[in-house]
Symmetry: C2
Subunit: 206 residues, 2 copies
């Protein structure tokens, strides 16, 4: 059974979706630790409520390197195999990314490469696109640039506000994050250049 | 009945899709002229075969301004209300765009703003996206930047080549180009910032 570490900074709704998929057996893994860089993150309280190892590791006032080092130490102490960023509002340094290379997932509320960075739903709405969506990708050293594992499409309605659009995208985020994590822990992801191919055969120990 | 001018440089498959939609009565308009900047464009021969006014206006060796002026003169002589770019491989100057402001459509084989410019399908394939598509937009002075009228989504398959992906996108191009042109000639397009809204009520003379 692979160990997952979750990093979050906010409400942690994607963390909860992952926790549900693990509880139902859809994703064969266990959540070894949930780490927040914000003490008041609702996701941290939710993790505690689920009886998980939930840790606050402050980022404020630390260099990126020092914070990354603290998080790496916690993940290694918990024997984490894979890391899921679930609304984690810090950019990870190259040391972190290299340490867990090919083993970090992030979710972004747009069809990347469109609308990277913050306020992706607002960017989409203001740009006038008719479709947007969400993307789960492996994390590399860029911002929202890593190889794409799963995407889902969401139509933009004329009546949409940032809130209504974000809510419809979030439903799809919850679905594809578990889908992507399942592929990752089952060792079925193969990166070829920027393209992610999914191996048909399930290999249980890769 | 509104007059359409078509500009093309190649095979003109989007021109043919528009011609079919007009023939079936789906798009209430007539094609007043088809103009190509390449004498050997297959689309020009197809237009002649349909008995349309098909003109070759050379661009080679001309300044952009001189070429644009020649095309504007032909469009005005044919009393063209709306212009459809259908695989037209020239960038129109600001004089042209202003002359037909809000009345020029272009189609692009990606979900803009992703993958503007040339080889959009190849860009999509190499970037590893799981979905791409096509976009019909009003033409402004940028390249593939104008307000989006219609989009269609096309999944990218692991087995896709540039050719197979382009073919599946092209099917959708044919569908949405007519859809967007119908909205335009019926006066149902309202531009609000970068967002295009579709008026529910059909107004026949706007």
């Amino acid at each position: 059974m692979k160990n997952i570490g979750i990093l979050l900074s906010g409400r942690g709704s994607n963390f909860e979706a992952i926790a549900r998929s693990i509880a139902t057996g859809d994703v064969p893994a266990r959540i070894a630790v949930v780490i927040s860089n914000r003490r008041d993150a609702a996701g941290l309280a939710r993790a505690q409520a689920r009886g998980l190892d939930a840790r606050f590791i402050p980022s404020q006032g630390k260099t990126r390197e020092a914070f990354d080092r603290d998080v790496i130490a916690a993940l290694e102490a918990c024997k984490v195999d894979y890391v899921c960023l679930a609304g984690f509002m810090r950019v990870l340094g190259s040391c972190f990314v290299q340490k867990f290379s090919g083993r970090i997932l992030n979710i972004h509320p747009s069809l990347l490469p469109a609308f990277p960075g913050i306020d992706a739903q607002k960017q989409a709405l203001e740009s006038g696109v008719k479709f947007t969506g969400c993307t789960v990708h492996l994390v590399d050293e860029g911002i929202d640039t890593g190889p794409i594992v799963c995407q889902a499409v969401v139509p933009v309605l004329e009546s949409d506000t940032v809130e209504s659009l974000s809510a419809r995208i979030l439903e799809q985020e919850h679905r594809i994050y578990s889908e992507a994590l399942k592929l990752l822990v089952e060792g079925r992801i193969e990166v070829d250049g920027r393209r992610v191919k999914i191996k048909e055969t399930v290999t249980s120990d890769e």
